[in-house]
């Protein structure tokens, strides 16, 4: 077993490399993904090793990137598109929403469009406008897309490979604030099987920490926040379970519900604005299925109903340990 400690970013690179190795129809495309290796260096070295036809610097046009990826997919390729930053996915929103998400349905299964759209997302990196957003809810509402976000280097490595072999389009949100955080990665872990037999490899949540008093639900960048909060809460005598969703569409409802039925309380944590955000769907669903076991309404900790603010105040916009603990207090005081 070749387990190594590596940063999240390098685990993604390794996953992409493995995907390109495993299937010569897989290709990486986007702005600056070639020689530069992407502005975050996630595709570092790939063009050198796989060539310009497998790792493609495209014109600067996101609709064109996703639109041509769809055509390539129809021709049997497996394009992995990189969107440079969260805020720049919107020019591609039409192609993603009206074409990518719908072609399998429109064709009654005759056309598969196994396109992966990688989006570095989330804040906390002191960036300028459009570089810190969390638009995942805007994709999860659209049927036909799978929307996922890994939180650990191992999941980064596993999930990117699963996304590439998925016959369905996957919107792959990468918590850019976690790119430099390290973890163990087993590079020999098998590519998740998509035969439909076992659990959905892209749609299964993970219990990141067990607990008994409250369930913290998080994904991507906020899993670390939830885990830190759980530490803080433990110090105060509260035992928090942390669920790492991994998938936002679909939600692994059974895992969450099972946890909440045990703890009786639920706090959802994400960076996206709370209003009409992922926590709303979770709260609605959890309440529906745990109505008689819930001791308090599901609490949501997320971004505010403001555009992502300037860097100097983002620490107060983003959910942090204090705000999670505050929400837990609210849940406990009910």
């Amino acid at each position: 077993m070749s387990t190594q400690t590596m940063p999240f970013a390098k685990a993604l690179t390794a996953g992409l490399r493995a995907a390109l190795d495993a299937d010569d129809k897989a290709l990486v495309m986007g702005e600056d993904v070639g020689r530069l290796g992407g502005v975050f260096r996630i595709t570092d070295g790939l063009q050198k090793d796989f060539g310009e036809h497998r790792v493609v610097d495209t014109p600067l046009a996101e609709s064109g990137i996703v639109g041509t990826a769809i055509g390539l997919a129809m021709r049997g390729y497996r394009p992995i598109c990189e969107i440079q930053f969260d805020g720049f996915v919107f020019p591609a929103y039409d192609q993603i929403t009206t074409q990518l998400a719908k072609l399998h349905y429109r064709s009654r299964g005759r056309i598969q469009v196994p396109v992966v759209v990688r989006i570095p997302y989330g804040g906390g990196i002191g960036a300028i406008e459009h570089h810190s957003e969390s638009p995942e809810a805007l994709f999860a509402h659209t049927p036909g897309l799978r929307v996922v976000s890994p939180a650990t280097p191992q999941d980064a490595y596993d999930m990117i490979r699963a996304a590439v072999v998925s016959p369905d389009p996957v919107i792959f949100f990468e918590p850019k604030g976690r790119y430099w955080s390290k973890g163990e990665v087993d590079l020999d872990s098998p590519v998740p099987s998509l035969d439909g037999g076992g659990p959905d490899p892209l749609g299964t949540a993970r219990i990141a920490r067990t607990g008994t008093d409250v369930t913290l639900v998080a994904y991507g960048p906020t899993v670390a926040t939830a885990l830190s909060a759980a530490d803080a809460l433990a110090a105060e005598g509260t035992s928090a379970e942390v669920v790492d969703l991994r998938s936002i569409s679909p939600l692994d409802v059974p895992t969450v519900v099972d946890s909440v039925r045990r703890t009786g309380r639920c706090v959802v944590v994400h960076e996206a604005p709370t209003y009409f955000g992922p926590g709303a769907e979770l709260a609605a669903r959890v309440t529906e299925e745990c109505f008689y076991s819930l001791e308090a309404p599901v609490q949501r900790v997320g971004g505010f109903h403001t555009p992502y603010p300037v860097a100097k105040v983002e620490h107060d916009y983003l959910p942090d340990v204090d705000r999670v603990c505050d929400a837990v207090d609210r849940a406990l005081s009910h």
């Binding site: 129809m74 399998h104 429109r106 064709s107 049927p143």
Partner: protein, 383 residues
């Protein structure tokens, strides 16, 4: 060369030349400027011309019958192609079997030539499918309704062909191209320009076939561009040509040139087929609200089917028995449509949950299960 009818397109009515091989009177043109295109049709004998004529007649019959079916309530909507048969049939007849087509929604003539089943073509308008056929069967993608989107898919597909080594081999069985159809209105969409960027930069084997039928619903082409559309590609590095889209031979010839370029690795071409939407935008549209009868009448004189018939007659390629056969085929097509469209069954409601994903997906399965139970209970309760 023929000037475009006046007033139909302010920007380009005044003497913009186009490739024309057969005049509205059905006589072959003789201008030296089109000699190279003329050569491209030299091999087309009576049989080939009759095939095109038949394609066009069947396309129009399909059009008329579909319109009638819509009027009878058998279809929800239908977008007529009348007037554009030559542009569509001529260009499609230039394709090789292995070429791939990305249509918009008015390409009935292209679908006819490619062999897409006529009943399948109407499923979308009957409201039983969003698609209707298997794109792999005839190498024709489904209709795309979000205007211009398909031009990027076509370009991407062409990039795939390049990667597959199917460009510039010199082998006519292998070299493959893509053609995407779109309208004068769609040309304004950002996606079309991005497709030109991607195609040009990569020298992709794709033909951008823009049918300028003078109207985008109620807007004349002058609302989309102030210069003739065939120039659109130039600033991207893509050569352009305007062809008389009501001349099936010219449409064929121009398309063979564009395809040759693509096959040989010479990259994309932008073709503007200058034609006219003789009917309404769709069966829901009322063109009297925005255009003059006089314009319609002027264009009626350029009817592409009449023109080819006149050519066949003028060159003694016409034969009444053969023509009667074509008419009979058209009648058979119409009968088939009348019978088979009516008998397209409504899909079961639960089928709406099919194919959202290629793999099992929890949310869909939860809702499907709920719906199935709900439907059963409702049926139970109604009993």
């Amino acid at each position: 060369m023929l000037n475009a009818p006046e007033g139909s397109d302010g920007a380009s009515a005044e003497g913009v030349p186009f490739v024309q091989l057969v005049g509205p009177d059905g006589r072959r043109t003789e201008g030296a400027q089109d000699a190279a295109y003329r050569d491209r049709t030299a091999h087309l004998g009576t049989e080939e011309l009759r095939t095109m004529y038949r394609d066009m007649v069947l396309t129009r019959r399909f059009d008329d019958e579909s319109t009638a079916l819509q009027r009878q309530g058998e279809l929800g909507l239908y977008p007529q192609g009348r007037g554009q048969e030559a542009a569509q049939v001529g260009s499609a007849r230039a394709l090789r079997p292995q070429d791939f087509v990305f249509p918009s929604y008015r390409e009935h003539g292209v679908l006819q030539v490619r062999g897409v089943d006529p009943v399948d073509r109407l499923r979308i308008y009957r409201g039983t499918e969003h698609g209707g056929w298997d794109p792999a069967d005839h190498r024709v993608h489904l209709n795309t309704l979000v205007l211009g989107s398909q031009t990027l898919h076509a370009t991407g597909y062409a990039l795939g062909l390049q990667r597959d080594g199917l460009v510039g081999t010199g082998d006519p069985e292998r070299d493959t191209a893509v053609v995407t159809y779109f309208g004068d209105g769609a040309s304004s969409q950002g996606d079309v320009s991005e497709a030109l960027v991607f195609a040009a930069v990569n020298n992709a084997p794709v033909v951008f076939f823009c049918q300028n039928n003078q109207w985008a619903i109620s807007e004349p082409t002058s609302r989309q561009t102030r210069v003739p559309l065939y120039k659109r590609g130039e600033g991207f590095g893509i050569p352009g040509v305007r062809v008389d889209g009501n001349d099936v031979l010219a449409s064929y010839a121009v398309m063979t040139e564009a395809l040759e370029r693509a096959y040989a690795g010479g990259g994309p071409t932008f073709v503007e087929a200058y034609t006219y939407r003789m009917g309404a935008h769709t069966t829901s549209d009322d063109p009297t609200r925005y255009r003059e009868r006089a314009e319609e009448e002027e264009w009626a004189l350029r009817d592409p089917i009449d023109r080819l018939a006149a050519l066949l007659r003028a060159e003694d390629r016409w034969d009444d028995d053969w023509a009667a056969g074509v008419a009979a085929d058209a009648e058979t097509l119409a009968e088939r449509l009348r019978a088979d469209v009516r008998s397209i069954e409504d899909p079961p409601s639960v089928s709406m949950f099919d194919h959202v994903y290629a793999t099992p997906q929890a949310q869909v399965e939860t809702e499907r299960a709920w719906f199935t139970t709900y439907q059963d209970e409702t049926a139970e309760a109604a009993r």
